[in-house]
């Protein structure tokens, strides 16, 4: 239909392509053929400079199906770039908001990611954007096109705090492309249950920040939203017909709702960023809260003993709100919303409560990137929650066969 241009001249040089398996770690890699709205980096692939940015990589796939995995990062520089490069008429200006990124490749929406920096640690937030391409989607004389953009659709009001021009400043740290072995597409049943952290590392789940390298288990949902991406071929059992996501919530304790984040992390036993000094400094500022905290923890807040004692208490807290989801559910105070990011249509979500957890079920066939939000309907939830917010977290992601519905977590964990 269209014009067939003739770009070639007698002087064209052979093009360097990325051999597979291969990794692009620098914007100077000659396999990165074309960039648009993207500044090439030296030690990283580069950063996006526009609300729609694109890079195109020459890949020598020889007709093999491939898995493309890209690590993106929202860091302080990304926020700085947003302030500098986003036109002044873009309102509201929320450079530090969560970034919802859509990745199109080879003409289709392939994956999405949600990035949101921790309020207190101010460390970078990372996410893997991962997807599979069939052999015929990556011809050797073509390009692997990686087009990152923000959703054009109107998101519900709970996404008001997300940044517009989401891709501006986002760093592409590295991009790895691996050929998929034929048996990979056949599925590995052993991976039919993933804890949330592993799901996030596989690119299937995006909660805002990739967990630290050794973390396992649950993933907090700072924005109340998470993203589901099409499961990678290697992880999806062929007979799986639905994807079950278990979400749990606990009521923030008085300490959690008032303490600064590093101390909460400390309470929860996680890493605290810049060492103990900062915690100690914060600790001093928190003297007025000690009394309240002491009542909660039922122990003296003498610094050397605090972490262990509090951690112990945390374990009891974890079990404390077990019933809250069910109680909220009964009061019809829960709201679960999902949006198909390719069409912008909202999607009905099948959910129930099992063992104090919210179990969301999605048909595998329907999973394009889906943005899911869990929350409460404020006026109905108020009597149950008081003035304490709910802390949401994803516990696990599990494939289920047709007909089988959500089972209690205990049973599932035994199955592989």
């Amino acid at each position: 239909m269209s014009t067939k241009p003739r770009f070639t001249t007698d002087f064209d040089l052979p093009v360097t392509a990325l051999e597979l398996p291969g990794m692009v770690v620098s914007g100077r890699d000659p396999a990165v053929r074309i960039v648009d709205g993207f500044a090439r980096g030296i030690g990283i692939v580069g950063r996006f400079t526009a609300s729609t940015g694109m890079l195109a990589v020459k890949v020598e796939a020889h007709g093999a199906a491939v898995r493309v995995e890209t690590l993106v990062r929202l860091d302080a520089k990304a926020i700085q770039w947003w302030g500098r490069k986003v036109p002044a008429d873009v309102q509201p200006r929320i450079p530090e908001g969560a970034r919802l990124l859509l990745l199109h490749s080879q003409g289709a929406l392939r994956a999405a990611a949600l990035l949101s920096r921790r309020k207190w640690t101010r460390g970078p937030a990372r996410a893997w954007l991962s997807f599979d391409l069939a052999g015929d989607e990556l011809p050797d004389d073509g390009l692997l096109v990686f087009n990152l953009e923000e959703p054009v659709l109107d998101l519900p009001s709970w996404a008001d705090g997300f940044s517009r021009h989401a891709s501006v400043g986002i760093a592409v740290m590295r991009m790895q492309i691996t050929p998929l072995a034929p048996q990979a597409t056949a599925g590995r049943r052993s991976l039919s249950v993933l804890d949330a952290a592993s799901s996030e590392r596989s690119g299937m789940l995006s909660t805002g920040d990739l967990p630290a390298i050794d973390a396992t288990g649950t993933r907090p949902l700072p924005t109340g939203a998470f993203l589901l991406n099409p499961p990678p071929c290697g992880l999806r059992p062929q007979e799986a017909s639905s994807l079950v996501v278990q979400v749990e919530a606990h009521r923030a304790t008085r300490i959690q709702s008032t303490l600064p984040y590093p101390l909460v992390r400390l309470l929860e036993g996680g890493p605290v960023g810049r060492g103990r000094r900062r915690v100690r400094r914060l600790g001093k500022r928190l003297r007025p809260l000690r009394a309240a905290a002491a009542r909660e923890v039922r122990t003296e807040l003498k610094m050397p003993k605090v972490p262990a004692a509090i951690e112990k208490k945390i374990r009891t807290w974890r079990s404390e709100p077990k019933g809250i989801i069910a109680r909220l559910g009964k009061a019809e105070a829960l709201s679960v919303e999902a949006v198909w990011l390719d069409s912008g249509m909202s999607m009905p979500v099948d959910y129930d409560f099992v063992g104090g957890r919210l179990v969301l079920r999605f048909a595998v066939a329907h999973i394009g990137p889906i943005l899911v939000h869990v929350g409460v309907i404020a006026d109905r939830a108020a009597p149950l929650l008081g003035n304490r917010p709910l802390n949401w977290q994803v516990r696990e992601v599990r494939f289920a066969e047709a007909g089988k519905t959500g089972q209690p977590a205990g049973e599932v964990q035994g199955s592989p």
Partner: protein
């Protein structure tokens, strides 16, 4: 002239130039050459003066430099125009200077007795009729000048009662009288000018052509490029640019096309370099966004899908890209299918909106539009057609070359240089007007509004049918044009640093060193000017393009040359 070098550097340059030109031109004779120094860029004036002094190696002549400026041009374009710098430059080149703007001012302000013109100590007679210019030509010139200096796409409503318009008209008429007086009085052997449009340049050109004076039109790109119009070679077209279009086309079709096999490798080289934006004309933008890195149709198709999605375009329909010109740029100085650039663009947008879903339309604004339009012409149309689907309005800087090339199926322009660039890479372009290359067979030409619309319709339908709108010969011609424009007609001489050397100290320094360190005879500038002048050729050539031997000596000898 605007001086961006240090006064010391300028002084040293002038000292070197004065000695150089005194010893490298013939003793002054009775004949005159008129040269303009009305542009503020020193590179422009240096090119003019170098051509004039090259002529003074062929004939004993004196050079009269006309210069000066007024508030209109200051407001529209100039930042620092200083006549005193021109005065010193004239001295170095052995030329006399006349501030025509000052003269026009004093004549407009004079009560009764008109100030006389003395050139070389001689009083010039005033022609009895004042000026013999055709009123319609003068009016057209005033319209172009008024639009340009006021930066508006067309004359405003009720311009006849606008005192500003009347003032520009009076001023232009006075310009015409002064130029007439100069041309009739001095009977110059040539007029050397960097521009052929607007009152301060265009009316001099009009006077010269009326009185049979050859006009050499230097080009502001590359090294030394110039077109020459010899009135006895006229093909009878109304404007100098239209004449040149036909003469260049005839020359290209005869001499360059004949040697296409010999020049093939060279044309390919220029086409390859041009993809990386090397050897670009001076007004093309540089930077990474101006490089074309797509290598084949598969890559283009893959990029295309994403870009169409970005613009909200229909992937099943072809993409027509309309390149809006700088709306007040030299109106009416070459043949145009519509009454003005604004008229053309409005009509095209209207046509696009009516053609419904048949094509995707991308309207691109000229990158320098803010220097040519203060009325918001493009933005106004964008707002008026905001609700038309599959139509996008963007400034062209927002669309890098890779993005543009991945979607464009058909380009539309009046005289933009995309109409020689895109065909070189197999993308067809419709021109609603003439440009220097439009008679060289690269683009699709529309003569009038009806045939323009018919051509657009037929082209879009052709794209749906999968027809190639461009032939292999057109692609070959376009690549040859790139070579012809950037190499064959670009004279490399140490006397004319290439445009990208800039207009600051380092350029003057390299010029000074050339004049002091290099002996002069056989300098390419001299031989090229002599060849053009003696043969009355329409442009300067780097070597004799009419000689097959000269052509084959100029290119690498790696081809078996077969002619015919």
């Amino acid at each position: 002239v605007r001086l961006l070098a240090s006064p010391t550097e300028y002084g040293e340059y002038l000292a070197a130039a004065e000695t150089y030109w005194r010893t490298n031109t013939l003793p002054v004779g009775p004949a005159w050459i008129i040269v303009e120094a009305l542009h503020q860029d020193i590179r422009v004036t240096l090119r003019n003066l170098t051509v004039a002094n090259s002529l003074r190696r062929l004939m004993s002549a004196r050079v009269l430099v006309v210069t000066g400026t007024d508030n209109d041009w200051f407001e529209a374009m100039w930042t620092r125009f200083d006549v005193n710098h021109v005065r010193r430059l004239c001295q170095a080149f052995g030329a006399e200077m006349l501030d025509v703007h000052e003269l026009v001012d004093s004549r407009l302000n004079a009560d009764g007795q008109q100030p006389a013109i003395f050139v070389g100590g001689v009083l010039l007679d005033e022609p009895p009729a004042g000026t013999s210019i055709d009123r319609a030509v003068l009016d057209a010139n005033v319209e172009a000048t008024f639009c340009r200096v006021k930066r508006m796409p067309r004359l405003p409503e009720g311009f006849a009662n606008d005192p500003e318009h009347a003032r520009v008209h009076r001023r232009s008429e006075e310009f015409s009288k002064v130029y007439e007086q100069l041309i009739v009085g001095l009977k110059p052997i040539a007029l050397v000018t960097s521009h052929v449009d607007y009152n301060q340049w265009g009316l001099a050109v009009e006077s010269a052509i009326r009185h049979g004076t050859p006009v050499i039109h230097t080009q502001q790109t590359g090294s030394l490029k110039a077109y020459a119009f010899f009135p006895d070679k006229t093909v009878g077209l109304p404007t100098l640019r239209a004449e040149m279009t036909q003469q260049i086309g005839a020359y290209f079709n005869h001499h360059v096309w004949r040697n296409r096999k010999t020049l093939r490798r060279s044309a390919e080289l220029v086409a390859w370099r041009s993809k990386a934006n090397l050897g670009r004309p001076s007004w093309w933008r540089g930077g990474a966004a101006a490089s074309a890195e797509l290598t084949n149709a598969v890559e283009r198709e893959q990029m295309r899908l994403h870009i169409l999605h970005r613009f909200g375009f229909d992937p099943a329909a072809p993409v027509v890209v309309v390149f809006n010109h700088a709306v007040s740029d030299a109106l009416g100085t070459n043949y145009e299918s519509f009454a003005g650039l604004a008229e053309w663009f409005e009509q095209t947008v209207q046509f696009a909106s009516l053609s419904g879903t048949k094509a995707n339309w991308l309207m691109l604004d000229h990158p320098s539009q803010r220097l040519y339009d203060t009325t918001g012409f493009f933005e106004g149309l964008k707002a008026a057609y905001a609700d038309v689907p599959r139509m996008a309005f963007l400034p062209s800087q927002k669309v890098p070359k890779n993005i543009l090339w991945s979607i464009i199926d058909l380009g539309v322009t009046v005289r933009g240089s995309v109409s020689n660039e895109l065909p070189a890479y197999g993308i067809p372009v419709i021109q609603a007007g003439w440009s220097e290359w439009s008679a060289c067979g690269l683009s699709l030409l529309a003569e009038d509004p009806d045939s323009y619309r018919a051509l657009l319709t037929a082209s879009i339908e052709g794209l749906y049918r999968g027809e190639a709108l461009i032939t292999d010969e057109q692609i070959e011609r376009a690549r040859l044009w790139l070579w012809f424009y950037r190499c064959g007609t670009d004279v490399v001489s140490p006397l004319v640093p290439t445009w990208h050397d800039g207009d600051r100290g380092p350029m003057l320094r390299s010029l000074r060193i050339s004049m002091r360190a290099v002996e002069s005879d056989g300098d390419p500038a001299y031989t090229a000017v002599a060849r053009m002048w003696d043969r009355k050729e329409p442009f300067l050539t780097r070597f004799d393009l009419t000689s097959d031997d000269a052509v084959s000596h100029a290119v690498p000898r790696m081809h078996v040359i077969r002619t015919g």
